[in-house]
Symmetry: C2
């Protein structure tokens, strides 16, 4: 059992109100590297920050790490456009940090990153892998790509109040800057990403295509960003069945219609309820609609449920959280 | 239990007759990436080659991988100056491929790589790690650094006939080009590496310093290149005890006086006999003095011996070898 994590950045995250994946905007660029370190080592190592939302909700990486400590799955991190150094070992596929989606070409090297990640997906010898993402601002670029491809699906948010109106306006500006009509990049995944996406979408879509080509059993470990990946892969001509595993929080998001997306893109969708309760600060924010998914959390909870280990993983989350809080206090000097 | 592998390159390897870490000179640059992939995945993934010596002896990575499959230790690869992409996840510490030791300054960024690796060593949360190397040509740069520091220790070779005379001449030319007398860089590890070393020496010496500073129990997993690392660390002022674990083949090398090096550098040396016999092509070349050590092999054999698992690891080596031969046949199209 191996989780591949594509970690990258887009300057789209810096748009005011777009992302909750950091306590403040200046720290967002550190979030993907910190998430990778939390999965790899159990706490940030080089990243100077523990990712929390502005309200204090810890990154979903904490939940995925808790599952990893309980279940013991392998991890491979792909540098899908990190802008800060990370202590997590990463595979390089030549991806660079993404620009603002309101620019004409936020991912100039989309085609090369797709192809390089596809080769890596083809070469990886594991019979079964899941692929996850961490990229602040990623649901906005996911929406951008869906619109460029002409797909109706909508996207979730790590904020309790999904700023969907803002995202739609940002995407409209992006389409205008790119000189694209809605649906004009249908059948052209590289063009959709180059004009409206982010480097993580390029790397994950490329990886999935390559892995599926060689018969790897592949699971998309995530929410609506992974729906955008599925759309990219389908528009690239891949017809093999694909599985998507996410949390019940994404499935319950009124902005999201997972059933329609599953039908439109031939996705086998599983949404797992982690069974969180309000009695712990690492879990309670999810009940209020924060975070919802990310860094493979839904897949990890599905694996835990299959192993009858959800209660143990919830207990472990408290341990991981205490460790992260301790690390944050050290980082603050408090 | 975690093995850190520093993988890098030096153009010194291209000097005729210096290195056996590849079937032919044009393939040497792929060896460190292939070694990392063999440890991570069990076979080369992106590297277009299985590293073998000119006579067909497989890389010591095969033995370390066999131990890993049997004992299940963790792995972190540091990019210590790779010149080709690898599918193994790597931690970046800003190291670049090294130049020819006969140039005035083969490692211009030695000080920065030392410092960056030291920070990584300090940050890594594991209580106990071993560090190994893969860098074709690395014993010649190790000799260069030992001479620059004024240390008497000599170096081993992956060739049955150690071309020590050639290495001494290459190092003399390097010292002349660098404007250094023997011993002139004593107490200045960064200067010794910048003028006479390679990027792997910079990364390993920096990592060791940082790890030891924070109380990590550290083992140097290798032969005479790790003696050079110990010398660098001692010349940097570190006085904590250091362990070195290598193979009996290095200890038996008449060119090497491990006992004197251990005494001079306060090293606790363990040399383990893998118990290889002539009945398998993956093991037999070691009996003729080939390969000897590398990619953490001696440390891995020591761990196997401690676990009473040497016979199982030897059996596993045959399996790993068959897989590598299969991969080589695919690469050849044969």
């Amino acid at each position: 059992m191996r989780l591949i994590l594509a970690a990258g950045t887009t300057r789209t995250a810096a748009i005011d109100g777009i992302s909750a994946a950091g306590a403040e905007p200046s720290l967002l660029a550190h979030t993907p590297g910190a998430d990778a370190e939390i999965l790899a080592y159990g706490r940030p190592v080089r990243a100077p920050v523990v990712p929390v939302s502005p309200s204090g909700c810890p990154t979903p990486a904490a939940a995925t790490r808790a599952a990893r400590e309980q279940l013991g799955f392998d991890l491979t991190v792909i540098d899908a456009g990190l802008s800060k150094p990370t202590a997590a070992p990463t595979v390089s596929v030549g991806a660079a940090p993404g620009g603002d989606v309101r620019e004409p070409e936020p991912v100039p090297a989309a085609a090369a990153a797709l192809e390089s990640a596809r080769r890596f997906g083809r070469a990886l010898p594991h019979p079964e892998v899941a692929i996850a993402e961490t990229i602040p601002g990623g649901t906005t670029t996911a929406l951008g790509v869906l619109r460029a491809l002409g797909e109706d699906a909508s996207v979730s948010s790590s904020l309790p109040e999904n700023p969907l109106g803002l995202k739609e306006r940002v995407v409209e500006r992006g389409l205008a800057a790119s000189g694209l009509e809605v649906g004009e990049a249908a059948g052209e995944p590289a063009r959709a990403i180059r004009r409206m996406g982010d480097p993580v979408l390029a790397v994950v879509a490329g990886f999935v295509s390559g892995a599926v080509e060689t018969g790897t059993a592949l699971t998309l470990a995530g929410g609506t960003q992974m729906v955008a990946v599925a759309a990219l892969v389908r528009h690239g001509g891949e017809e093999s069945p694909l599985a998507l595993e996410t949390t019940s929080y994404v499935a319950a998001d009124p902005a999201v219609d997972l059933a329609s997306a599953a039908a439109a893109l031939d996705l086998d969708v599983t949404a797992t309820d982690p069974g969180f309760s309000a009695d712990h600060p690492a879990a309670a924010p999810y009940l209020d609609g924060e975070a919802k998914e990310g860094v493979g959390m839904g897949w990890a909870m599905t694996r835990a449920a299959e192993a009858d280990a959800l209660p143990a993983v919830r207990d472990r989350l408290a341990t991981v959280y205490d460790r992260l809080v301790g690390a944050a206090e050290v980082a603050d000097g408090s």
